[in-house]
């Protein structure tokens, strides 16, 4: 029997992926450990290693195929002494029940576990909270489908008994037909509350292009779709507010120069961004209320500072995480950040590199952006948007002075964090940046 190569699960939650590239072709000999394909998920590209050796008998799933379910047969490997005739009936047709069963029993990730994790996943979001903080009632199937489609149950109106959300409501929401749950209330209060857009905003069928404008049609990558979905969710469900502050950089630049000179021999070069990561982490340590996550009827205040740093990559952006940045020195942060950024640009981030994170930083200073407001990366509670360091005329005492200044804007989830704590965080942050010696303590 030919060996079945299955679509691997790159993370516990992965259900489908894109088969980005085949690195082998039919007839190639492969041995255990050879990299045979690249798989793209919503966040990263990963390599697939062969666990067996043999000759590639058949490539079942073509390069570029999207949404290949985990554990589907993607290729068949012929063992020593087998020829192509062995391929017949060897499966590859996922709808064939027997082949499916066989492939599952050989799957590296055993189906039972997979379904277990699915069951748990389905449970995790099982207690979404409606706008008024009450429990959202939905059938298990509706919950599962909403999760798979990335729909927010709190935003869907249920048509089942006592307003329970049922399969039909999810299907309607998917098609963008559902009335958002808030619409009724908004109307009854007779306020000009803009009703939340259908949560399926992203899945809404696209607009037709204008008739007379030439255009290129660009297919959305998995990452693009995820960004679209998550940012839509964030902006439609997380009440953002913004706090802006200017920080002076002269001392930091001097300090950086001194440090880098000293560290030159060790190949370490600390960037301004590394200082910002460290300063943010320390400020979060000081003001843990800003290191928070909203969870319905409670909030989590994190005791560790895992900083997600937005990195622009081809086709979008990713946010690799510097874990426990509050306990790491500048050199270590710098080293880790360099590695993460390289991995990100090469599309080689592992799920553990980008999952989680308690706070985000987005820096557009290198593009000369003076200041901007960033969109919170849910379920995190805040994101710091960093502008360019530039020389500005600053009123110092009663005189105008030229100073190197940078503007940062903190976007905050108002459900979990109020202005005072946000301001306190920024004050602490400003303190560290303007007096970087304190950062070394």
């Amino acid at each position: 029997m030919p060996i079945k190569i299955l679509m691997p699960a790159l993370s516990p939650t992965m259900e489908t992926g894109t088969l980005a590239k085949w690195l082998v072709k039919e007839g190639d000999e492969v041995s255990s450990g050879d990299i045979i394909a690249e798989i793209e998920t919503d966040k990263a590209t990963m390599e697939v290693e062969s666990v067996d050796e043999g000759r590639v008998g058949k490539i079942v799933v073509a390069e570029g195929t999207e949404d290949v379910p985990v554990n589907d047969v993607i290729a068949l490997l012929l063992e020593d002494g087998e020829d192509e005739s062995a391929l017949e009936g060897a499966g590859g047709d996922a709808s064939d029940g027997s082949a499916q069963k066989a492939s599952e029993s050989e799957a590296p990730v055993k189906q039972p576990e997979a379904s277990d994790s699915k069951a748990t996943d389905a449970k995790a979001p099982a207690a979404p909270v409606s706008d008024d903080g009450g429990r959202v009632f939905a059938s298990p199937l509706a919950r599962r489908m909403a999760q798979q489609l990335g729909l927010d149950l709190a935003a869907i109106k249920g048509s089942g008994p006592k307003g329970r959300i049922v399969k039909a409501d999810i299907e309607a929401a998917k098609d963008g037909k559902a009335a958002p749950a808030t619409a009724d209330k908004a109307a009854s209060q007779d306020k000009a509350v803009p009703s939340a857009p259908a949560p399926a905003g992203v899945d809404v069928p696209g607009f037709e292009p204008p008739a007379d404008v030439p255009y290129d049609e660009v297919k959305l990558s998995g990452m693009r779709k995820i960004i679209a979905k998550r940012m839509t969710q964030s902006k439609s469900h997380v009440p953002h507010f913004y706090l802006t502050i200017d920080v002076e950089l002269e001392k930091l630049m001097a300090q950086r120069k001194a440090l880098n000179t000293r560290l030159e021999g060790e190949g370490v070069k600390i960037s301004v961004n590394d200082f910002i990561i460290r300063a943010s982490a320390l400020a979060l340590k000081k003001v843990p209320q800003a290191n928070a996550m909203f969870a319905g009827d409670k909030a989590y205040l994190f005791k560790r500072q895992d900083i997600s740093v937005a990195v622009a990559v081809d086709g979008g952006l990713v946010t690799p995480v510097v874990r426990d940045a509050g306990s790491k020195g500048l050199a270590q942060i710098s080293g880790e950040m360099k590695e993460l950024a390289t991995k990100a640009r090469d599309g080689k981030l592992m799920p553990e590199d980008y999952q989680g994170g308690t706070f985000s930083i987005s820096n557009l200073g290198m593009f000369g952006i003076r200041e901007f407001g960033a969109v919170i990366n849910p379920p995190q509670g805040a994101i710091l948007a960093v502008g360019a360091g530039e020389k500005r005329a600053v009123v110092d005492g009663d005189a105008v002075a030229i100073k190197l200044v940078m503007t940062v804007t903190l976007a905050v989830d108002h459900r979990v964090l109020d202005g005072a704590f946000g301001a306190e965080f920024l004050k602490a942050f400003k303190g560290y940046i303007e007096d970087p010696m304190t950062m070394l303590l």
């Binding site: 069963k101 379904s115 298990p140 599962r144």
Partner: protein, 466 residues
């Protein structure tokens, strides 16, 4: 009959009509129900209930015939056919009286007679040679259906029977031909076979119980054959010759050749046709298609104020489907909010042959045809302790899930007592559970219901006991 004006008049007091009438009364509608023959309709007078009484007799006889397997010694199992039939009639009679009481208790006006539509909101009722006119804002047609006959296949009530004759035999036939292997056909086949008759079933389709899952059909056929029935598939009866005490059927087989079979009695179980005659449907503008009134998912016929529910409005011809449709139509009439029309894949079906068959939702084949990628679980009775203890180790429970969402698409069972089990899956489907909730449900031990759990587990390769 003093009252002549009502909010709602229901025509036909079968399980669709009388349930609709009681629900209407609960909702405060002034309701009348008109019945020409017997309260409770075919279901409890000539269908579901009296046949279950007969099948109980043949089941007990089967146990007695096999008493030695259980360490019992029984000498000479015999029966008195008159008493067997009398018991069945008594059961029907008891329930008939029960319906009368229920209608009275709910203050539904019950009128015995033949109803006919007479213009908007009006009907006439003929009883004892007198005709009365009644008025109602809404009228529900619930006149049911009867056995279908074909020009060359007509029942005479003597040698060639419909279900109604088959329920009140005067003598036990030595040989019996059952035409049609739907639920009605195989139930009678089971009864007469267990009572000792030589039984042949002829089915036009390529499997018995053609509406069930293919695995169930195949298993049922094997079991029936093991019991000594002869089953001819892909065949039809071309012609019958009746003599004084026997009937000869000319049977056209799959190969196109015609053979002859002479039997004592013959049962026609070739389907159902709606009771659409003499109701004044045509004059009222109610559309009839192939023997059934055309109605939408709420029971609306397209003619204002005229509704149709149950067998008269088409398959599946099941009492519980009629009752549910009746309730939905009445609630619609009464303006109840938040109503959902009936979902046909939530209607369970039960067949009380030996072995029993029960199912709900899509068969594996239907699920695939509907574009689902499926996960299928199957658990055999032989893996269940209670089944073995009962001496019923034959049968299985099959479940069909949507691979992506985990939705329970269908469940199919064959074996002892499965008709009492299927409601579990019907509840699961109504509540839209996925495989996860079913897996987390604790099924009591030792019960046959454990197989329902195992079948779900098996769909995800997690069955424990097989």
């Amino acid at each position: 009959m003093s009252e002549t004006k009502f909010d709602l008049i229901v025509i036909g007091a079968g399980p669709g009509g009388y349930v609709a009438a009681i629900r209407a009364a609960q909702l405060g509608l002034k309701t009348a129900i008109i019945e020409r023959e017997h309260l409770g309709g075919i279901c409890l007078n000539w269908g579901c209930i009296p046949t279950k009484a007969l099948l109980r007799t043949s089941e007990i006889k089967h146990y007695l015939d096999n008493a030695a397997d259980f360490g019992l010694s029984v000498k000479e199992v015999g029966f008195d056919l008159k008493k067997v039939v009398a018991r069945s009639r008594k059961v029907a009679g008891q329930l008939n009286t029960g319906v009368k009481g229920l209608l009275k208790k709910n203050k539904v006006t019950t009128i015995m007679g033949e109803a006919k539509l007479k213009g908007k909101g009006k009907i006439t009722v003929k009883a004892d040679g007198k005709t009365t006119e009644l008025q109602a804002k809404d009228i529900i047609l619930a006149t049911g259906a009867r056995a279908r006959e074909l020009p060359h296949l007509k029942a005479d009530g003597k040698l060639v029977w419909t279900y109604k004759h088959a329920m009140t035999p005067e003598v036990m036939p030595k040989s019996l031909l059952v035409v049609g292997s739907g639920a009605i056909g195989v139930e009678f086949a089971s009864f007469y076979r267990d009572m000792g008759a030589e039984v042949t079933i002829i089915e036009m389709m390529d499997r018995v119980l053609p509406v069930e899952d293919e695995d169930v059909s195949a298993f049922a056929k094997k079991q029936f054959e093991k019991q000594g029935m002869k089953i001819v598939l892909g065949a039809s009866v071309e012609k019958i010759d009746t003599k004084s005490e026997c009937v000869t059927a000319h049977i056209k087989g799959k190969d196109g050749k015609t053979t002859q079979l002479t039997v004592d009695r013959m049962i026609l179980a070739i389907g159902i046709t709606g009771n659409v005659e003499n109701l004044g449907l045509e004059e009222a503008g109610v559309k009839v298609d192939r023997g059934h009134v055309v109605a939408d998912e709420w029971g609306r016929t397209g003619v204002d104020g005229i509704w149709a529910i149950g067998d008269i409005s088409g398959p599946p011809w099941l009492a519980h489907k009629a009752s549910h449709e009746g309730v939905i139509a009445v609630e619609k009439i009464a303006g109840v909010k938040g109503l959902h029309p009936m979902k046909k894949d939530l209607i369970p079906g039960c067949t009380y042959a030996r072995p029993q068959v029960a199912s709900v939702g899509l068969t594996e084949k239907q699920a695939k045809e509907a574009g689902h990628k499926v996960k299928v679980g199957k658990f055999p009775f032989i893996g269940n302790g209670k089944a073995i203890a009962l001496g019923e180790p034959e049968g299985f429970i099959k479940t069909v899930f949507d691979e992506k969402t985990g939705e329970l698409l269908g469940a199919h069972m064959i074996g002892a007592e499965v008709t009492e089990l299927i409601q579990g899956y019907a509840v699961a489907k109504s509540l839209e559970t996925t495989e996860a909730e079913l897996m987390h449900t604790i099924f009591p031990h030792p019960t046959l219901s454990e197989m329902m759990h195992e079948s779900v587990l098996d769909a995800y390769d997690r069955a424990i006991h097989y």
